[in-house]
């Protein structure tokens, strides 16, 4: 029982992070139809910002990372995606890959490809004991932070005028535009929110691993891209649930796979992904009525 609880908390903590990343990706996809691979570099740059101001107090670190990453997200929108408005989805994807390549190599030029270690949130790694469970405080912090951020965003999407406009733009961009939603401004907001999620993810990831490489964001964000598609693209809650599912499935597989198959854990997970896509090509949480009809 205790082992199950223990693994359960691991699963929720990694799932929460994927949920957060998936939401950040789904923001820009929902509103602007951009699968932003450079999202992984927002996370990476956020982590390197922690290194850059290393001995600073943690509130300052959080502030700098948030501001820096959001500004970078806005910059990439203004410099690359806005001139490419209306371009083919594949072109946008390749452009985001270009940005990703650019940021990765700029960081490489300054910091090199060797792993750097950073001492952020070390106090949180020590386990705390609840009954016979031993839980890293960081897991609890991850769950609490992502949980409250998701909650805050939910309230924002439901209650605020901008949030409602964003949801309208994600549901049907052209219709929203005709009803007076300012399209460019919505895309800017979408990038800003996606920057916030990337910054929080950067803080949590760095606290978890403590090591930085210029490619640190790639793997988690790839998982999050998959999660967004599984959840139903453009469907914000679906993306979060997709992220939770991917994180949980990863933990469950690492526990239940026989020893011989452990190196293929990722492979097994992706076989499941293909099966899900075949059964529900438009995502798990897309209603048939919302699909395009001819």
């Amino acid at each position: 029982m205790n082992t199950i609880l223990q693994y359960g908390i691991d699963a929720i903590s990694s799932a929460a992070l994927y949920g957060l990343l998936a939401l950040g990706l789904a923001m820009t996809f929902g509103v602007a139809r951009i699968v932003n691979l450079a999202f992984s570099e927002l996370v990476m740059v956020g982590s390197y910002l922690i290194l850059a101001i290393e001995p600073a107090a943690w509130p300052l670190v959080i502030f700098v990372v948030l501001v820096g990453v959001v500004l970078l997200a806005l910059l990439m929108e203004r410099a690359v995606f806005r001139p490419l408005r209306g371009a083919d989805a594949t072109t946008l994807l390749v452009a985001s890959f270009g940005i990703s390549l650019l940021l990765e190599n700029v960081v490489t030029a300054f910091e090199g490809t060797n792993a750097r270690s950073v001492n952020f949130g070390a106090a949180l790694v020590a386990p705390t004991h609840i009954g016979s469970l031993s839980i890293a405080k960081l897991d609890l912090v991850t769950i609490a932070v992502t949980g409250s951020l998701l909650l805050a965003l939910t309230v924002f999407f439901r209650r605020s005028s901008v949030g409602v406009q964003l949801r309208a733009a994600a549901a049907d961009f052209e219709m929203a535009e005709m009803l007076g939603v300012r399209s460019t401004r919505m895309i800017v907001y979408a990038f800003a929110i996606s920057g916030v999620t990337a910054a929080v993810a950067a803080l949590l990831l760095t606290a978890q691993t403590g090591t930085l490489t210029p490619t640190l964001g790639v793997q988690p964000v790839l998982v999050a891209v998959v999660a967004t598609v599984i959840g139903g693209l453009g469907n914000l809650p679906g993306a979060v649930v997709g992220g939770l599912l991917m994180g949980a499935a990863g933990t469950v597989l690492s526990v239940t796979l026989p020893a011989g198959l452990v190196p293929y854990q990722g492979g097994v997970l992706y076989v499941l992904v293909i099966v899900v896509l075949l059964a529900r090509p438009h995502g798990l949480f897309t209603r048939a009525s919302s699909l395009e009809r001819i």
Binding site: A89, T90, G98, N105, V106, L222, V229, Y264, G266, V271
Partner: protein, 367 residues
């Protein structure tokens, strides 16, 4: 209606012009320093794989992020088949029996690699070929991830998780050019064949294509297999130019640089595939030379690590912003009109035009 030689040349012009242009590049560089020739071979290999990717993505309009996996399949099959037996027994002791007794030279190995990659591509296309749009992109990405896991972890393919050396380095510039020429011809014949035209029709309008009886899933499946075979073919030439098998060579970055070359050139035409490969390879090489301090003409700079790749990324982004439809805009190279026989422009020549409503004048701009 008689078929005059001029008519045939006009019909094959898009292939002949590309192959001839590439021959000029190879002739100019074939006698340069070994480093330049090695880079030339890598560029030609990249062009083979981009043409392979184009056969599926360009003709079907469905995205694939997984084609580096097929390059890897070709490389592993065609690479291992060429490792001399003595070394093979030491390096890869757990290979199955049939793989322990024959050594193939480059071309037979390339055909074998292409056949295996094509077969695996066909099997994968049975489920994945049913998907389109982002679902297809993610499913092919999943295929890439699975292939990467197998390449990195399967003990049969590498002695202790990682690289396997010992593949003879024998891809020559002219040999790889010939391989590329063959691949261009196959891709062009496919795109002009009834199967290719059916698939391109489904790219333009899915519903209309289905309503005239085109079995879209079957056409996509065939194109995917052919495309995987061509990419695998390129993979064999790749591994025969670097000499070492290593899983990460056939992963995300490779898949994406193939796609980037295709999009930069123009995703809907064979000319675009070649243009993109040539332009991006040249830009990458030119900037890498600056970084290494070798100089480029009068320029001599020494740049820190990573700067060259960053410059390539900037070039990529700029090209996309300035030419979102690609450098060729999705058009093939047509025979200049003044060389065509009277009336030929309305025959086979115009039959090779893209179905996107371009006028012959636009085609002439490129020719």
């Amino acid at each position: 209606m008689t078929i005059s030689p001029r008519r045939i040349i006009a019909a094959l012009w898009p292939v002949l012009s590309l192959v001839a242009a590439l021959a000029v590049i190879v002739a100019l560089l074939a006698n340069a320093s070994p480093a330049v020739v090695a880079y030339l071979v890598q560029g030609l290999v990249a062009a083979i794989t981009v043409v392979g990717l184009y056969v599926f993505v360009g003709n079907s309009g469905v995205l694939s992020l997984g084609h580096a996996a097929f390059m890897g399949v070709g490389a592993y099959v065609g690479g291992i088949a060429s490792i001399p037996l003595v070394e093979r027994a030491v390096l890869l002791p757990s290979l199955p029996g049939f793989a322990q007794h024959h050594v193939l030279s480059l071309w037979p190995a390339a055909v074998l690699g292409a056949a295996v990659a094509g077969t695996i591509g066909y099997v994968i296309a049975i489920p994945v070929g049913r998907l389109a749009g982002l679902a297809a992109a993610i499913a092919t990405l999943a295929v890439l991830q699975i292939a990467q896991d197998v390449m990195n972890n399967w003990g049969v393919l590498s002695s202790d998780g990682g690289t396997t050396a010992g593949v003879p380095v024998d891809s020559t510039a002219w040999g790889t050019w010939l391989a590329l020429a063959i691949v261009i011809a196959i891709a062009y014949l496919y795109q002009r064949s009834r199967w290719g035209i059916r698939l391109r029709a489904s790219r333009e309008d899915l519903v209309a294509a289905r309503s005239v009886g085109i079995n879209i899933v079957r056409e996509r499946r065939f194109a995917f297999a052919l495309s995987a075979a061509i990419v695998g073919f390129g993979g064999v030439f790749y591994v025969h130019s670097v000499g070492t098998l290593t899983g990460p060579d056939y992963y995300f970055a490779t898949s994406f640089s193939m796609l980037a070359m295709l999009v930069v050139g123009g995703i809907n035409s064979l000319a675009g595939a070649i243009t993109g490969a040539v332009v991006l390879t040249t830009v990458t090489d030119a900037i890498a030379r600056l970084q290494n301090g070798q100089g480029l003409g009068p320029l001599h700079l020494t740049l820190p690590n990573g700067v060259s790749a960053a410059c390539v990324a900037i070039a990529l982004i700029l090209i996309l912003i300035l030419r979102p439809a690609g450098l060729t805009g999705g058009r093939e190279v047509q025979m200049p009109r003044r060389w065509r026989a009277p009336g030929v422009g309305d025959g086979l020549g115009s039959g090779t035009q893209e179905p996107d409503g371009q006028t012959p004048e636009q085609a002439d701009v490129l020719a």
